[in-house]
C-alpha cells in the first residue's frame, strides 16, 4: 500500500464540507498563496517549527544540536534553519516538546507519514461516529499532489459508506482529479482570481471545473477567501460568478481573512506577508455576500 504524508487531523469540524467531519490535512502545495493559513504545509517535508511562546529557554537544544542551529542570547532564542539537517535531536531533548504533537510543542516537525491502511484505522473510530452526519474531508496543502495514494484511502472510505470531500485549488493536471473522481462525493474548489494568477493555472482550473461539473455540478462548492488587497475585488467576484453560472455550480462559501496564521509564519522563521492587514468588517462581508446572492448563488460566510 502507498503512503500518505499529512500534518494534522481535525476530528470535529463543521466548516469543511457537508455536516460534521474529520479533516485530514495533507502535506505539499505548489501555490503558496500569501494568505495561506498553513505555510507549514507547503513543503512535503516541513522545516523545523519553533514556537517561542512554548519555549522555557532551558538551552538543551543549544547544547545538543550538531550544527549550532539554536542560539540563546539576551533572553531571545534564535533559530537559524539554514544549517538544520532535520536530525530531530533538539525535539527529543526539549522538555516542552513531544515528537508526536508538534501543535502543542516548542519544537517540531509537522510531517507524519503512514500507510493508507494504517491511516484509515486511525481515522475509523471517529468516521464511524460521524458516518450518518458527515464524513471525511481531505484538505491540505493541495491533496491533488498525493492523488494516487489518496485515491486508495478514499476508495476504502467509499467501500465503508463514508462520505468523502476533497478540498483543492484544482490547478494541477486533470489526471489527478480523474484519479480521485470515482471516490469523491463532494468537492470544495478554491476559486480566488487575483492579478498575479498565472494564465496556465487559471486555464487548468477551468478545465478541471468543467470536468467536475460535467460529472455533477451539485457536488461542487466554491470556496473563496476574501483577502483585503488580493481577492476582494469586483472583477474577481464577477469572474467567479461567471465560472459558476457557466458550469451550473450553485453554492459558494466565503472565508474571511484569518489573522491567526501569523503564528505559523513566525514558527517557520518567515515574514508574515499580510502583516498589518485589516480584518474585514461585518458589513463588508455582508455586502460581498449580497453580490453573490443577487446573482442567484447560495452563499455562506464560513468563519
Amino acid at each position: 500500500m502507498s503512503k500518505l504524508k499529512y500534518f494534522d487531523i481535525s476530528w470535529f469540524s463543521s466548516v469543511d464540507g457537508p455536516g460534521t467531519r474529520v479533516v485530514l490535512y495533507l502535506l505539499g502545495c505548489h501555490l503558496r498563496c500569501p494568505w495561506c493559513h498553513s505555510p507549514h504545509s507547503w513543503e512535503i517535508s516541513s522545516p523545523l517549527l519553533f514556537f517561542e511562546n512554548r519555549c522555557q529557554k532551558c538551552g538543551s537544544c543549544v547544547d545538543i544540536c550538531p550544527n549550532g542551529v539554536h542560539k540563546i542570547s539576551n533572553g531571545a532564542h534564535l533559530v537559524d534553519r539554514s544549517h538544520c539537517i532535520r536530525c530531530g535531536a533538539c525535539i527529543e531533548i526539549c522538555p516542552s516538546s513531544d515528537i508526536n504533537k508538534w501543535n502543542t510543542s516548542a519544537l517540531g516537525f509537522v510531517c507524519k507519514e503512514l500507510e493508507v491502511g494504517e491511516l484509515y484505522q486511525i481515522l475509523k473510530p471517529q468516521l464511524d461516529l460521524l458516518k450518518d452526519i458527515g464524513g471525511l474531508t481531505i484538505s491540505g496543502g493541495d491533496p491533488l499532489l498525493q492523488s494516487e495514494a489518496l485515491a486508495e484511502l478514499l476508495k476504502i472510505c467509499s467501500m465503508n459508506g463514508i462520505h468523502t470531500t476533497v478540498e483543492t485549488s484544482a490547478t494541477l493536471n486533470k489526471k489527478h482529479i480523474e484519479d480521485l473522481l470515482p471516490f469523491v462525493d463532494h468537492w470544495l474548489i478554491g476559486l480566488r482570481p487575483t492579478k498575479t494568477d498565472k494564465v496556465e493555472d487559471w486555464k487548468q482550473l477551468l478545465t478541471n471545473i468543467e470536468l467536475l461539473a460535467a460529472h455533477n455540478p451539485n457536488q461542487i462548492t466554491i470556496r473563496t477567501p476574501i483577502i483585503p488587497g488580493y481577492t476582494n475585488t469586483q472583477i474577481a467576484y464577477d469572474m467567479i460568478i461567471e465560472v459558476m453560472h457557466t458550469n451550473g455550480i450553485k453554492s459558494i462559501e466565503i472565508l474571511p481573512y484569518n489573522p491567526y496564521s501569523e503564528n505559523y509564519y513566525k514558527a517557520m522563521g518567515l515574514k508574515f506577508p499580510l502583516e498589518g492587514t485589516q480584518l474585514l468588517s461585518e458589513e463588508e462581508l455582508i455586502q460581498i455576500k449580497s453580490v453573490f446572492t443577487s446573482a442567484g448563488i447560495h452563499t455562506e460566510i464560513v468563519a
Binding site: 463543521s14 474529520v22 461516529l129
Partner: protein, 946 residues
C-alpha cells in the same frame, strides 16, 4: 394565566410554570438558613419512648417532622413549609436538606444508643438515598390499602403470638409432670426420631387434663407444637442423642428447653413483625394526615381567594389532597400529587430516594386529550422537587447540618460537601424496555422529556434508558438528543440497556424481568425498580497500585512514615528485587486489589445488620417489594433483593501509570523503578539538578509518550482489559469469601473455623441465612467511578503518570484523565468495545463535555450520533454536557467577586444560574461550586477529549 406563551420568552410550557420557576430561583438566591428546622422544634422521640423499638421510634419521628412541617407556630412568621404559593398546582413543601448539607430531623435514638454510635460510627443522621420507589402499588391501592394490610397482619400476628404463648404454657406444664419425664427417659438413646415423636405425642395426650373433651383450637395448637418439634428433632436429633449419653437430669431434658428457645425466637420475630407493621401504619398515616392538612389549607385559602379561576384551582387542590395518597389515584393530577406527597415525606425524613420509572407509572393515568394540562402539571411537579435549591454558596457554611454518620462507612474519604450542597439524590428514569422486553417508550416518556427541556432544571436527574430497537426508533432518540442539546445540562443521562441488563442478569444473578426493569438512582447507580435495597463500597485503585509498587504502603514524601503509610500487606519491593518482572508486578498488584475488594465484600456482609439498629425505614418499606409480605423492614432482610456495588475510583489513572511503567521501566528499560517512585513521591521535584533532569525526563515520557486510556491504542486497551479482568476476578473471589464467612451456616465440622473467622472480623452473630432464611443473599455488583469525589480521592495519592503533583484530582468517573487523549470521542467510545463493560452492573459512567461552538450547526444530530456510537461500542453509561469555557471563566470571576461581598456581582450572577456542569455524580449549577473546582473547569480542556 394558563395560555401557552411564545417559547423563547419563557421557561417552561406555560406562563404559570415560568412564574413558579422565577419565584423558586428568587428564593434560591436568598439566605435560607432561617428556613431550617432546629432540633429544639421537635419532640425528643428517643427520650420519650425509650421502651419502643427503634423502628417504631423512627416512625414516630417521621410523624413528628410531618406535623412540624404544618405547625403554624414553630417559625417566626409563616412556617415556610406550610404554604401554597400563588399559581401552584402541586402542593406540599419538602424540608430543606441535601446530601452535602444534611437534614434536620427529630432525635429518635435513646441516649444510650446515641452513646454507642460513637463506636458504630453510624448515626441516626446518616442520610441515605440510593433506592428507588415504584409508585405503582401506592397509586393503585392508596396508603389506606397498605394500612389495611398492616392491620390485617397485626391481627394475625397477635393471633400467632397468643398461640405461641399457649404452647409455652404446655411446655411448662409438661415439664412439671413426673410421668412425662419418666417416659422420656425410657426412650432408648438410639431410638429413631419418628419413634421419639410418636412417644412424645403420647406423652402430651396422656397428660392433657382436658382429654376426651378436646376442642379444635386445642388440636391445632398441639399440631403446631409437633410441627416445630418434628422439624427440630429431624435436624438436631443426632447431636442431641449424642449429648444425651452423658448423664442428664430428666428435668433438664433438652427437647423442652429447645422447644422453649424456638418458641421464644419465633415470638421475637413476631414482635419484630408487629413493630414493623405498626411503624408502617404510623408513617403512612402520618403522610395521609399531612396531606389532609394541606387540604384544609387549600380550602381556607379558597375562601379568601378573589380570582374565580384560582379559587376553583384551590378547591380542586383541597379535594385532591383529601383523597390522595390515602385512596387510589384516578387521574394524572391525582397520581402526581400522590407521588409528590410520598416523595416529600421520604425526603423530609432522611430517605432521599428516587422517583423511579415515572413514564411507566404515570402512563395509565395519562389522557391524550388533556395533554397540555398534564404537561403543565408535570412541570409544576418538577419544580416542587427542585425547590430546595440554594444558589448562593456564601450561605452554605451556616446551613451545614451533617454529622459524623454521613459517609455511612461506604467510602474511604470525607464527602465533598460543598459540591453536594444541591444534590438531592432524586432521579427519574424513562424509556428502555418493559419487564417483558418490549419497548417501554410511551406518551409520558415524551411528556417528561419535554418538561425537562422546557424547564431546564438540574434536579431531579433525568435518565434515559436506550436499547437496540430504540436506536432505529428515530423519534425517541431525536427527543433525547434534542433535550440534551436544548438544556445543555446533561439531561438525560444515558443508560445502555444492552449492557446494563446483561450486567444485572447474567453477571450479578438478578432474574431477567427484574433486570429489564432496572432504574438509575443516587448519582448514577443502576438498581432494581422498587424491589431492592442498595449499598456500596468504594476504594482507590491508584492506592492499590501504590501499595503494589511500595510493599503495601502509599508513596509518601512524609519522612515520619518511613516507607509510606501502610495500607495493606507487606509485599516484595519490585524496585529492590530485580527478579520481579512486569508480570510479577501485576501479580503483586492483584493481591492488593484483592485486599480492597475483600474489605468491601466482607464489610458489606458483616455490617448488613447494623442499619436496622439505627436507620430502619418504615416509610420506604411500605412500598418496597418484599417488606410488606415478609413483615420485615428493608434494613432487616425485607427487600426482595439486596444489591451492593464495589466501585473503585482512579481506574483510568491506574491504567495510564501502569502502562507508562511497563513501557519505560520494563520494556525500554530507560528508567529505574526506584527513580520513578521517587519522582512520584516528590511530585517530580528533584533534590538537585541531576535528579531534576531525570525527573523531567520521566515526566515527559510518562505524560506525552505513554499509552493513555481513551486513545484506543492497543497498549492502553490491553492494560485496561487486564485491570478490569483482575478487578472482576477479585470481586468474585471476595464475594465468595464473604458468603462463606457471613452468609451460609457453617458446614458440618467447619463451625469452629467459621466462628473464629467471624470473631476475627468482630462479628458474633448468626449466619445471615440463619437470620433471614434460605433466600437471603446479597448480590454484589462491580462498577467504576468517582462520583463527585475525584478531587478528594486524589488527595491521598502521590504524583502519577498524569498527575504532576501529589494530591491532584484523579480522573473523573470512567473517563480519560482530562487532557491526556489526543484523538476523538470516537476513539474513546471505540475503546469501550473491547472491555466487556457488560459485566459492570455497578455502573461505569463516562462524562463527555462538548463545546457549545462545535454544536452550532447540526447539534442534535451530532449528539444523536454520539449516543448511537456509544451504544454500538457497548458503552455502559454516559452523560453529555454542553459547555462554553469562556462563559464559565466569566462566571467564575463574578463568583469570586460575590465571595468578596460584591452585591453588584451577585446580581449579575443570577443571569447565569442556569449554567451547569457535570460533577461526576450529578449536574450542578456552576455558580454553587467550590472555587477550586470551578477553576478546574476553566483551566483544563472542557472535555476529556480535546
Amino acid at each position: 394565566m394558563n395560555e401557552l406563551i411564545k417559547e423563547e420568552t419563557i421557561i417552561g410550557s406555560t406562563y404559570r410554570v415560568n412564574e413558579l420557576i422565577k419565584s423558586m430561583e428568587k428564593r434560591a438566591w436568598a439566605d435560607r438558613s432561617s428556613e431550617w428546622f432546629t432540633k429544639d422544634m421537635f419532640k425528643k422521640i428517643g427520650v420519650e419512648h425509650p421502651d419502643k423499638s427503634v423502628i417504631v421510634r423512627r416512625a414516630l419521628a417521621i410523624e413528628e417532622i410531618l406535623k412540624a412541617m404544618t405547625n403554624k407556630n414553630l417559625f417566626k412568621g409563616k412556617n415556610p413549609h406550610y404554604q401554597i404559593r400563588n399559581g401552584e398546582l402541586i402542593v406540599g413543601v419538602i424540608a430543606l436538606g441535601s446530601l452535602g448539607l444534611g437534614k434536620s430531623f427529630p432525635d429518635y435514638l435513646t441516649p444510650s444508643e446515641l452513646d454507642v454510635t460513637s463506636v458504630s460510627t453510624k448515626s441516626e443522621m446518616g442520610l441515605f438515598g440510593h433506592d428507588s420507589v415504584n409508585y405503582d402499588v401506592m397509586l393503585a391501592r392508596g396508603l389506606e390499602g397498605i394500612i389495611a394490610d398492616c392491620k390485617k397482619e397485626l391481627k394475625s400476628t397477635e393471633h400467632k403470638i397468643n398461640h405461641y404463648n399457649i404452647l409455652s404454657d404446655y411446655c411448662d406444664r409438661i415439664e412439671n409432670e413426673g410421668a412425662f419425664n419418666k417416659k422420656i427417659t425410657n426412650l432408648k438413646s438410639n431410638g429413631k426420631t419418628t419413634d421419639i415423636i410418636e412417644s412424645l405425642k403420647g406423652v402430651f395426650e396422656d397428660h392433657d387434663e382436658s382429654k376426651g373433651n378436646r376442642t379444635k383450637a386445642y388440636d391445632s395448637n398441639l399440631k403446631g407444637l409437633f410441627e416445630i418439634l418434628e422439624t427440630h428433632i429431624h435436624t438436631n436429633f443426632s447431636n442431641i442423642s449424642k449429648k444425651r449419653s452423658s448423664k442428664q437430669e430428666p428435668s433438664s431434658f433438652p427437647y423442652l428447653k429447645q422447644i422453649r428457645e424456638i418458641l421464644k425466637s419465633k415470638k421475637n420475630i413476631l414482635h419484630n413483625r408487629q413493630d414493623f407493621y405498626q411503624s408502617v401504619k404510623i408513617s403512612c398515616q402520618a403522610v395521609i394526615d399531612y396531606a389532609g392538612r394541606f387540604s384544609e389549607l387549600a380550602k381556607a385559602m379558597s375562601l379568601d381567594e378573589k380570582d374565580p379561576i384560582r379559587k376553583a384551582e384551590l378547591n380542586e387542590i383541597s379535594r385532591i389532597c383529601s383523597k390522595v395518597p390515602a385512596k387510589p389515584a384516578s387521574t394524572f393530577y391525582e397520581a402526581l400529587q400522590s407521588i409528590y406527597f410520598f416523595h416529600l415525606a421520604l425526603h423530609s425524613s432522611m430517605s432521599q430516594l428516587s422517583l423511579g420509572r415515572l413514564d411507566q407509572v404515570l402512563q395509565p393515568y395519562y389522557k391524550k386529550e388533556d395533554h397540555e394540562k398534564q404537561q403543565e402539571l408535570f412541570e409544576c411537579f418538577l419544580i416542587k422537587c427542585a425547590e430546595r435549591l440554594i444558589l448562593d454558596s456564601t450561605t452554605f457554611v451556616k446551613q451545614d447540618h451533617l454529622d459524623f454518620g454521613s459517609n455511612l462507612l461506604t467510602i474511604p474519604v470525607p464527602l465533598d460537601q460543598w459540591s453536594e450542597s444541591n444534590e438531592f439524590l432524586q432521579n427519574i428514569i424513562i424509556g428502555g424496555q418493559t419487564r417483558d422486553g418490549k419497548n417501554a417508550v410511551n406518551d409520558c416518556t415524551y411528556l417528561i422529556l419535554k418538561a425537562f427541556q422546557k424547564t431546564k432544571l438540574y434536579t431531579p436527574t433525568l435518565n434515559a434508558r436506550i436499547y437496540k430497537e430504540q436506536l432505529e426508533d428515530g423519534k425517541y432518540l431525536n427527543a433525547v438528543a434534542e433535550c440534551l442539546f436544548e438544556t445543555k445540562n446533561g439531561m438525560p443521562v444515558i443508560g445502555n440497556d444492552e449492557v446494563l441488563i446483561p450486567a444485572l442478569h447474567k453477571f450479578s444473578g438478578i432474574p431477567l424481568d427484574e433486570a429489564r426493569d432496572y432504574v438509575i438512582d443516587g448519582c448514577w447507580e443502576p438498581l432494581l425498580n422498587g424491589s431492592c435495597d442498595w449499598t456500596f463500597r468504594m476504594f482507590n485503585m491508584l492506592t492499590a497500585l501504590e501499595c503494589a509498587l511500595n510493599g503495601g504502603a502509599t508513596l509518601s514524601s512524609n519522612e515520619i512514615l518511613l516507607r509510606g503509610q501502610k495500607m495493606t500487606y507487606e509485599t516484595a519491593l519490585p524496585a529492590v528485587d530485580k527478579s520481579i518482572d512486569f508480570e510479577g508486578l501485576k501479580g503483586i498488584l492483584k493481591k492488593h486489589i484483592k485486599f480492597f475488594t475483600d474489605n468491601s465484600a466482607l464489610s458489606i456482609h458483616m455490617l448488613y445488620l447494623i442499619d436496622q439498629a439505627v436507620n430502619p425505614d418504615p416509610l420506604y418499606s411500605a412500598l418496597l417489594k418484599g417488606c410488606m409480605k415478609t413483615g420485615r423492614d428493608k434494613t432487616w432482610g425485607g427487600a426482595d433483593y439486596k444489591l451492593a456495588g464495589i466501585i473503585p475510583a482512579a481506574v483510568p489513572d491506574t491504567v495510564n501509570t501502569l502502562s507508562a511503567i511497563k513501557k519505560w521501566v520494563y520494556d525500554k528499560k530507560e528508567f529505574e523503578l526506584a527513580d520513578v517512585l521517587d519522582a512520584f513521591r516528590m511530585s517530580y521535584k528533584g533534590a538537585n539538578k541531576v535528579q531534576q533532569e531525570l525527573f523531567d525526563k520521566i515526566k515527559l515520557k510518562f505524560q506525552t509518550d505513554s499509552p493513555k486510556f481513551g486513545n484506543n491504542d492497543k497498549e492502553s486497551v490491553e492494560m485496561m482489559q487486564w485491570v478490569l479482568n483482575t478487578f472482576w476476578d477479585c470481586v468474585k473471589e471476595s464475594h465468595a469469601l464473604a458468603e462463606e464467612v457471613f452468609l451460609y451456616p457453617p458446614k458440618k465440622g467447619d463451625e469452629a473455623r467459621i466462628k473464629s473467622l467471624r470473631a476475627l472480623a468482630g462479628y458474633a452473630g448468626k449466619s445471615l441465612k440463619e437470620e433471614f432464611g434460605e433466600n437471603f443473599k446479597i448480590n454484589i455488583t462491580a462498577g467504576m467511578g468517582t462520583f463527585e469525589l475525584f478531587d478528594i480521592f486524589g488527595g491521598g495519592n502521590a504524583a502519577s503518570a498524569d498527575r504532576i503533583k501529589a494530591g491532584e484530582p484523579i480522573a473523573r468517573n470512567f473517563a480519560p484523565m482530562v487532557g491526556t487523549t489526543s484523538f476523538s470521542i470516537g476513539h474513546l467510545l471505540a475503546s469501550f468495545k473491547k472491555l466487556g463493560l457488560n459485566r459492570f452492573a455497578g455502573g461505569a459512567i463516562t462524562d463527555l463535555c462538548l463545546e457549545e461552538r462545535d454544536l452550532e450547526k447540526n447539534g442534535p444530530n451530532i449528539i444523536k450520533s454520539v449516543i448511537q456510537n456509544f451504544m454500538y461500542n457497548d458503552g455502559n453509561m454516559m452523560t453529555i454536557t454542553i459547555s462554553d469555557k469562556k462563559l464559565l471563566g466569566l462566571i467564575y470571576s463574578l463568583c469570586e467577586k460575590n465571595r468578596g461581598g460584591d452585591e453588584a456581582a451577585k446580581k449579575e450572577l443570577k443571569k447565569y444560574e442556569h449554567v451547569s456542569v457535570r460533577v461526576g455524580g450529578f449536574q450542578m449549577p456552576f455558580v454553587t461550586l467550590p472555587p477550586a473546582m470551578q477553576k478546574s473547569y476553566i483551566d483544563r480542556p472542557m472535555s476529556p477529549i480535546n
